[in-house]
Structures are given as structure tokens and as C-alpha cells.
Amino acid sequence: MANRIDETFSQLRAAGRKAFMPFVTAGDPSLAVTEALIRDLAKRGATHVELGLPYSDPVADGPTIQASFNRALAAGTKLDDIFAMVKHLRRDCHIPISAMGSYTLVARRGVARFLDEAKAAGIDGLIIPDLPLEEVEAMAPEAAARGLDQIMLVAPTTPPERAARIAARATGFIYYICVSGITGERTALPTDVGEHVAALRQSARVPVCVGFGISRPEHVRAVAAVADGVIVGSAIVRRVEEMAGRPAAEVVEHVGRYVEELVAALPR
């Protein structure tokens, strides 16, 4: 069942272009700003969005995203309001959205209800970083039944045979984590990204996107040369944080300019 994620990748592939996927935390500093940001990022050349569902104890995330989750939670952000925001956004914005959140949030609501509500809101895929291959069957068939993609992650520490099994299971795209460790900006990326991505592409039925540590145009250039898409998280979240207390339009402009710089580094 092709959804917005798959359709956008097909279009990009046909045009010989790469995906650019910014990460934004839902509700930091408010859901109104998050909605405005997504709408603006789509206009500035983002092809997909990763929407972070704030959680109190994200073990895969570094200080920048943790702090942003805490701000969103302190602002009273609730899952129902996040889904309502996406639904509102969908009146005029059709960029593919993958929700990223801990399985804790899914388990609390119940897998079926969570997926029904995500689907009804207009979410296209799910990135559940604490649901590895060993546990994913609790969710993946239910997601597939609703036409939602279950995006699987592969790490540099994943052995090749296991990476192949994950790649075969993933729908939507594969999220290759290019550095061992938590989310956060890095000055330099590892040199083995191309090698890992090439190996993944051998067994993958879906595109391979790369994230973690990416913050500079030269990173974007290097990753886009080897992968189908580039994911940028902490560097964007930090720019939202820098504009704390400022009017929404200024936040959007500040983040938007940065994203334009990164998008400009993609091959045309």
C-alpha cells in the first residue's frame, strides 16, 4: 500500500534527487509553532518530516533533544493535541510525516488505538527506536494493516547478517544511524557510512536514509552522495531552542534559513 512516504521517494528517485528530512519536536515551544515550522520546511525543500513525540526518558537521545522533549512536556503537550495538530496541518500540507517516539507511549495507549489515531491524523510512518527486530512483531503487522510504514533502524554496531534481516523487514525507509551513540551534532562523521549504506542497499526493498550527528552542509553533501536521504535532528532543535520566547514567525525564519543552507548542499 503506497503512502505519502513511498510516493515521495518514487518521485525523488525518478528525478534523481535525494530526500531531506528535518526532525522537529512536537510542542517545542508550542504545537502552533511546530505546525508553522513543518509547513515552512516543506516550502523550503524538506521532502519528509520526522516528528518527535516528547517522552520523559528517551535513552537514545542526547541533551539537545532531551531538553526539547522536556520543554514540550512542560508546555503541556499531549498526544491527542499532537494528532490534532497533524490533522489541522493536513488541510493544506502533504509532506510525509514519520512520528518518532518511544514504544512506552505506544504501549500505554495500546498499539491498535495508537495506530488508528496516528493514521486518522495523517501520519504516514512510525520510527520507534526502542522497538528492535526482537520486539517489532508486536507492532509492524498492525501498522502494515493500516498502510503505515514501520521504519526500522540499523546501527554501525549491527552485524551484516542482522542488518540484512532488518532491511528485509523495514517498510517506508531504513534509518541508518551513522554514529554509535546518542543523538547530537558531531563535527565530523565516520568515514564508513558509504560502505554500510551500500551493504544495506543490497538487501533493502526501501530507500536508506542516514541520520545522527549531521549538522553541516558538507555532512549533507557527503551523506547524499551515498544514501537516499539525509536526516537532521539536534541541529534543528537547537535552533528552535535559540529562539525561545520569540514570535513564531521569527522562529520559523531562523530555522528555515538554516534548512535552506542544508538543502542547497543536496545534489540537484
Binding site: S102, R109, E134, T157, T158
Partner: protein
């Protein structure tokens, strides 16, 4: 048989599992394989047993508490003296096992989370003993409450990393330890301190701690010629309780009672009674009972005892609760503080605040059971670490 868990997917009934980022799966699988290999290797057990006997001072005595028995007016009270272990608590049983595994995996660095500091001290001790590097994550609030243990860890050459996120207690220290491990797993073993986390940790920590219950089996046979009627232990993450319960799980006539931290009482919302007031959910890599809000956000927890101040609990305890094999009770801060002094004055044993929770339940049960019955309480740690905080809370110890 209730003892035949977890299954090969790390499940205790519906609980347990491996809810961790892919980045950690390599280290977790490596650990599971190393543990299975070690478990089947007599040399590993010989080595661990050597340290238990010559370094920890095992077996720890099972002591008949005559004055407590008389005072509480009922069942005979026996204390399993884990407080007499080197470092003053049961935690060393586990850290020595994991430190030996760390060496077997060719890793040279240990990391740990700690609440009261007892697991941190036990990890720092094992690291010093075996020449390993060691970093211990500890909440800033716990660092304040447990100054002595911070000094002990540092004196043994470990680094204590202050954690200022969240509530600045055990849960937050655990998050940081996981985050460290995300980037360091190739050289570092995460020496988790309780029967919590992803498979194989809950099973492995239970196995290392089961030395407690195995010794009790022999000791109570020698002393009384029969099994005890009740075994009581405090439950935070649940390792000392799992250690004394597990060897008795299939002995249906031995009642098992876990005692959680009731804090200021359930109605106050300020407690850590995960099994008493929580619901099934996911935390720190495991499906178990958790204290969280309707959205799944972890709830704030409270206990006077830093070692029980945790919003989750070992998945095997969740399983034992649901199957009815173990009854879970609670003791409040006030009751635990009173018991801290009561046992000190009755027996000349200053108990850890954690262990005082278990003693509170024993005192309640003793008169109900009657004089021909036997209660074994796991005295999981000594109270030296709590003296400064108890003095602060109670205005000194003078009568």
C-alpha cells in the same frame, strides 16, 4: 513450574523483553552469549565462589533475632545478614559476577547507575579488585543524600558522574548510563544494579543474587529442620528480593512478601509502590509495571530510601505479582524511619532504610502468625550510609 522463566525471548509471562535501541542490541546479544557460556563453565563458578568466600565473606549468617522475636510477640524472626557482606549490602553478589563477565568479554571499563550508592560502591569495589576503569552515574539529589558513598567510590578510583536531568535520582542515573553505553559498548560493560533492564539483565542479576536464597535453604534447614513460613524482602528494582525468593519459588508452602516504598502513603501520590499502584508499561528496556501518567510519561516517585526510589520494577516481580506467587505490601517513610531505630535498639544492628521496609512488614506479620512460625527477613544492607540523612530527618538519634 514458576521458576522456569524467562523463555528464550526473555519473557516472564508478558513481561521483560528487549525494548532498546538497535545500537545496543549488539552489546546485549554479546552479553547474553557470554553469560550463557560462563553459566555452563565450572571455572567461572569456582572463580566467583572464591571471591564470595574470601573477599565478600560469604556465606552471610542467618541470624536468629531473639529480642526482635520477643518484642514483636509472635513468629521467630531470622535475619539474613547481607549487611555483613563486604561493602555492606547484597549488591556485591551481582557486581562481582558482572565484572568477571566484563573481563571475559575483553572489556576494560564498567559503568553503573546508582541510587543509594550501594550498587555504585559495589561496582567501584569490583572494578578496583579486578583492575577495571569505572564510571558511576548518580542523581544530583542522591549525591547530596549519600555523601559517604560518593566518597567511597572516589576513594576506590571510580569517577562519580552527577546527573541533573529529571528528578535527579535513580531513574535519571539509569538513563545516563544507557546513553553512555550507546556510544561505548565496544569497550564498556554496563553493570546494571538490579533485576531490571532488557534481557538478559533481569535473569542474570537474579541468578547472581540467588546465592542469598540458596544459603538460606541450607541455613534454615540446619537451624530449624524445615522451611520458613514467610520470607520478606524490600523491593525497589527487586534484586535482593529476587535473590532470596527465587530458590524458594517452587516451594509452595513458603509465603513470599515483597515490600515496596509507600513513601508518604498511596493517597499522597508521593511513593515508589510500582507494583502496588502502577500499571504494565515499558521503561528502561523492559515491559513491566511502571508508575507513569495516562500518556506514558514517567511519574515522579518518592521514598525516604534512595535505593527504592524507582518508577519501575524487575519484570519477574511483575510476573510473580500477576501469578499471585508473591504478595507485595508496602511500608511508609515514617514506618521505615521508626524501624531504623527499633532494630538498632533491639538487636544492635543498624539496618539500611531499604531493608527497614521489609522489617516493618515482618513486625506486622509476626503476631498474626504465632510463635510456632518462622519469618526470614532479608537484611539487604547496613544503615551506615543512611545515618546522616536519618539524623537530619529525625532531629538526631538521642532518645
Amino acid at each position: 513450574m514458576l521458576s522456569q522463566v524467562p523463555d528464550n525471548r526473555g519473557r516472564f509471562g508478558p513481561y521483560g523483553g528487549q525494548y532498546v535501541p538497535e545500537t545496543l542490541m549488539y552489546a546485549i546479544r554479546q552479553l547474553a552469549a557470554a553469560y550463557e557460556k560462563a553459566k555452563a563453565d565450572p571455572k567461572f563458578h569456582e572463580e566467583l565462589d572464591y571471591y564470595y568466600r574470601n573477599y565478600v565473606g560469604r556465606p552471610s549468617p542467618l541470624y536468629f533475632a531473639r529480642r526482635a522475636t520477643e518484642s514483636w510477640g509472635g513468629a521467630k524472626i531470622y535475619l539474613k545478614r547481607e549487611d555483613l557482606n563486604h561493602t555492606g549490602a547484597h549488591k556485591i553478589n551481582n557486581t562481582l559476577g558482572q565484572a568477571l563477565l566484563c573481563l571475559r568479554m575483553g572489556k576494560r571499563r564498567l559503568i553503573a547507575e546508582t541510587g543509594a550508592g550501594q550498587h555504585g560502591v559495589a561496582t567501584a569495589t569490583a572494578a578496583a579488585l579486578l583492575g577495571l576503569e569505572c564510571d558511576v552515574y548518580m542523581g544530583a539529589e542522591d549525591i547530596r543524600r549519600q555523601e559517604l558513598n560518593v566518597f567511597r567510590m572516589q576513594a576506590m578510583g571510580s569517577r562519580v558522574v552527577s546527573v541533573s536531568s529529571g528528578q535527579k535520582t535513580l531513574k535519571d542515573a539509569t538513563n545516563e548510563a544507557f546513553r553512555d553505553w550507546m556510544g561505548s559498548a565496544e569497550t564498556t560493560h554496563y553493570c546494571i544494579g538490579s533485576t531490571v533492564g532488557p534481557e538478559p539483565f533481569p535473569k542474570m542479576v537474579r541468578d547472581f543474587q540467588s546465592i542469598i536464597g540458596r544459603e538460606v535453604r541450607e541455613q534454615i534447614r540446619a537451624a530449624e529442620g524445615r522451611w520458613p513460613d514467610v520470607i520478606a524482602a524490600c523491593v525497589g528494582g527487586g534484586s535482593n528480593a529476587a535473590g532470596i525468593f527465587y530458590p524458594f519459588i517452587d516451594e509452595a508452602d513458603v509465603a513470599l512478601v515483597g515490600v515496596e516504598a509507600g513513601g508518604l502513603g498511596l493517597a499522597s501520590g508521593k511513593h515508589s509502590a510500582t507494583l502496588g499502584a502502577g500499571k504494565p508499561g515499558v521503561l528502561h528496556g523492559m515491559m513491566t509495571y511502571v508508575l507513569q501518567d495516562a500518556e506514558g510519561q514517567t511519574a515522579a516517585v518518592h521514598s525516604v530510601s534512595a535505593g527504592l526510589d524507582y518508577p519501575g520494577v524487575g519484570p519477574e516481580h511483575a510476573y510473580w505479582k500477576d501469578t499471585g506467587r508473591v504478595r507485595y505490601a508496602m511500608a511508609t517513610d515514617e514506618e521505615a524511619l521508626a524501624m531504623f531505630y527499633e532494630l538498632s535498639r533491639l538487636e544492635g544492628i543498624i539496618p539500611a532504610l531499604e531493608s527497614a521496609h521489609a522489617l516493618v512488614e515482618a513486625k506486622k506479620l509476626a503476631p498474626q502468625l504465632g510463635r510456632d512460625k518462622i519469618i526470614v527477613v532479608n537484611l539487604s544492607g547496613r544503615g551506615d550510609k543512611d545515618c546522616v540523612e536519618v539524623a537530619r530527618l529525625t532531629g538526631g538519634a538521642a532518645k
